[in-house]
Symmetry: C2
Subunit: 446 residues, 2 copies
Amino acid sequence: MITPRTLKGFRDYLPAQALAREWVLDVARRVYRSYGFAPIDTPALEYLEILTGKGSDETDKQLYRFTDHGNRDVGMRFDLTVPFARFAAQHVGSLGLPFKRYHMATVWRGENTQRGRYREFMQCDFDTIGTTSPVSDLETVLVVHDLLVAIGIDRFTIRLNDRRTLTGILEQAGLAEKQTDVLRALDKLGKASPEAVGTELAGHGVAPEAIERLLAMASLAGPPQAVLEQLKPLVGESEIGKAGLAGLAKIIDGVASAGVPAGRVMLDPSIARGLDYYTGIVLESFLDELPSLGSICSGGRYDNLAGLYTKQPLPGVGASLGLDRLIAGLEELGRLPTAETPAEVFLVFFADEHLGDYLRIASALRSRGVAVEFYPEAKKVGVQLKLAAKRGHPVALILGSDEFAAGKAQLKRMASGESEELTWGGDADVLAEAVAAAVASVRSRT
Amino acid sequence: MITPRTLKGFRDYLPAQALAREWVLDVARRVYRSYGFAPIDTPALEYLEILTGKGSDETDKQLYRFTDHGNRDVGMRFDLTVPFARFAAQHVGSLGLPFKRYHMATVWRGENTQRGRYREFMQCDFDTIGTTSPVSDLETVLVVHDLLVAIGIDRFTIRLNDRRTLTGILEQAGLAEKQTDVLRALDKLGKASPEAVGTELAGHGVAPEAIERLLAMASLAGPPQAVLEQLKPLVGESEIGKAGLAGLAKIIDGVASAGVPAGRVMLDPSIARGLDYYTGIVLESFLDELPSLGSICSGGRYDNLAGLYTKQPLPGVGASLGLDRLIAGLEELGRLPTAETPAEVFLVFFADEHLGDYLRIASALRSRGVAVEFYPEAKKVGVQLKLAAKRGHPVALILGSDEFAAGKAQLKRMASGESEELTWGGDADVLAEAVAAAVASVRSRT
């Protein structure tokens, strides 16, 4: 006998977890599509040369790699950005530009599991490539906004910055040559104290007055228009800095036009992100009730997606939903569905001679879009209802020989335990209408 | 520069293909759920000992296997049945029985690509375990039926048999000891001629009279009740054979009760399938317009799913949708959606000063469930409409400065080229209602 077990760092998804996950993925898919993003998929395995050296030293080390049956060196994808770069370079001629894609798929990293990380997880990326338009930056912010609203989160903040603004401010402060060190230090704000970041900046030779100005800049807060006004003198005459501010102003205007309530999109001059990659806007988003969770959807603009595979420059902008982090947050907030079943109705089966009637009733319910679990054996009602309660079906429908004879049925709302007698007179459509209405009323209360 | 390419036997899914695939998966998910099947997921990687020796010699040879960072021998799953057996043995205590799951996921086999096979493909399985009830057999047939109907196929046939009936017939014919050889030979019918199968049977020492009866049995056709009547004398007093006939009769009655039109579920005594695995009903399903495609959804009942991992017997019944085969068939029949975009409306952008108005209109459409592609740069209308035509947006919406001033808009139906003037007077909700109605009318015509 072989012990049934999963590999360390890997996990099974049981129905309750898989249903919650499918729900979030479905919402993300719907929102991405509503903006015209189209799905793509790429293989789990790629030539090793496509994958190595494209992430960090860490991702190289974590790569699952091996030699296949044809003696090729291959690796399992560790993110969706590298495969998208390869994909875009390979297919750009037939895709047309600008091109907007989403990709929701599994990636693998042989990480240290002691940090509570899994070695297999999903990413949900969306990107617009082939345009430098600030309208695409704006759309990226709107997609993140609509996604969090569609998930049912009402208190969240999208924090926005522009790498060009930072560059302009450093230029004006005479720190252009120290940009990488300065941004790396500033990026630690939030995790590290301003004092610690100041010490690190001093270590890079930044003058005390400049440190003070940088820390003041990074702590600017308040209404976006006010932050923009305060950034203007810091950017001064820097062309790149002014371009950054203009881009941010366009987004702030645009989100208001699109109906986003004030306070949901804020400017945060401390955000730098991905030092080597992003070149324009950068964004992070936080649940107001769980700020310590970290950013659940992050991204930004980059100059060139696929420079390693094609000479055609492909500028773009996009973001990625941290699916596992969001699900952990929703669970902590008690906002994750907990049912182990997708079926709203549990149809108790205990009058064997009425199998045909049960089938007609189940069929009438399904044709109305109501999912029905039909217990396959004519067992005691108690046994069946116990399973229905464990699984979390909202409603159970009970019909025995007496009910069939009288043209009645018992509908039990599982959460409250209330029962209600329905009259259907043998017409499955009449019964299905009544049950569908009860299911809709239970749904609207949750 | 690195050449962007995929591994041999692997492929990218571009938007049109990925959209078609997501559509089929979504339909399958909806139908599986409507019967109470719940999703699960398992890791792509398993301990090698879980995977080897569980399929055929061929799947062992095709297995992608390697040693991971922790020096563990691991493999990539080659089907969803073996991981489900491991999963069921591991979690049966917390799942409750009977347990119904679907699993739609990618599997990998290092197959010979010269046969036009891919090394990475998806399987879409559903199973009911922990019950021997014929009602679960019946539900399996109903799920396959509803799935094909929901895909929009009107002409298909589900072919059904029961392994116990075959066993009974062989018992009665004195061929019980030759069962494996006989079933293996009969399984070739359809691909091989009756004469060739007869020759093979003779080679196994089956008497000419018995061969004649077996071939006559395998070619029985007609209304299911008539086939059942003709099978009865062949089964005679065999207990197992009579149990098989009773099960088939129950399914034939049940599908009629559930409203399945006559002719869609037929009995086919020639179907044996998976000699070592199935022990009760077996089923295959075919598109009437493309019988040569082979079965697109197949399955059956088995005695014990997870005997290698647990002593608890787990009988079950299920089937698997051949996703790639179905998609190939739909494409051949011209029934596959061909658009490269999920967005119904392409919103032309050419009056830069009206960006806020465009955003308001797009937002009003999205709140009505209409997906909108908004071109991110204020370019010439012709350039934008050319892209809209390539991508397959059903409708384009055109508003320039003149239209904004007059409170009008041009709606262009891309397939017919017809244009229509809409009056909205600056109220985005009025315009969105009119466009949503136009989108609905275009949809209903396709």
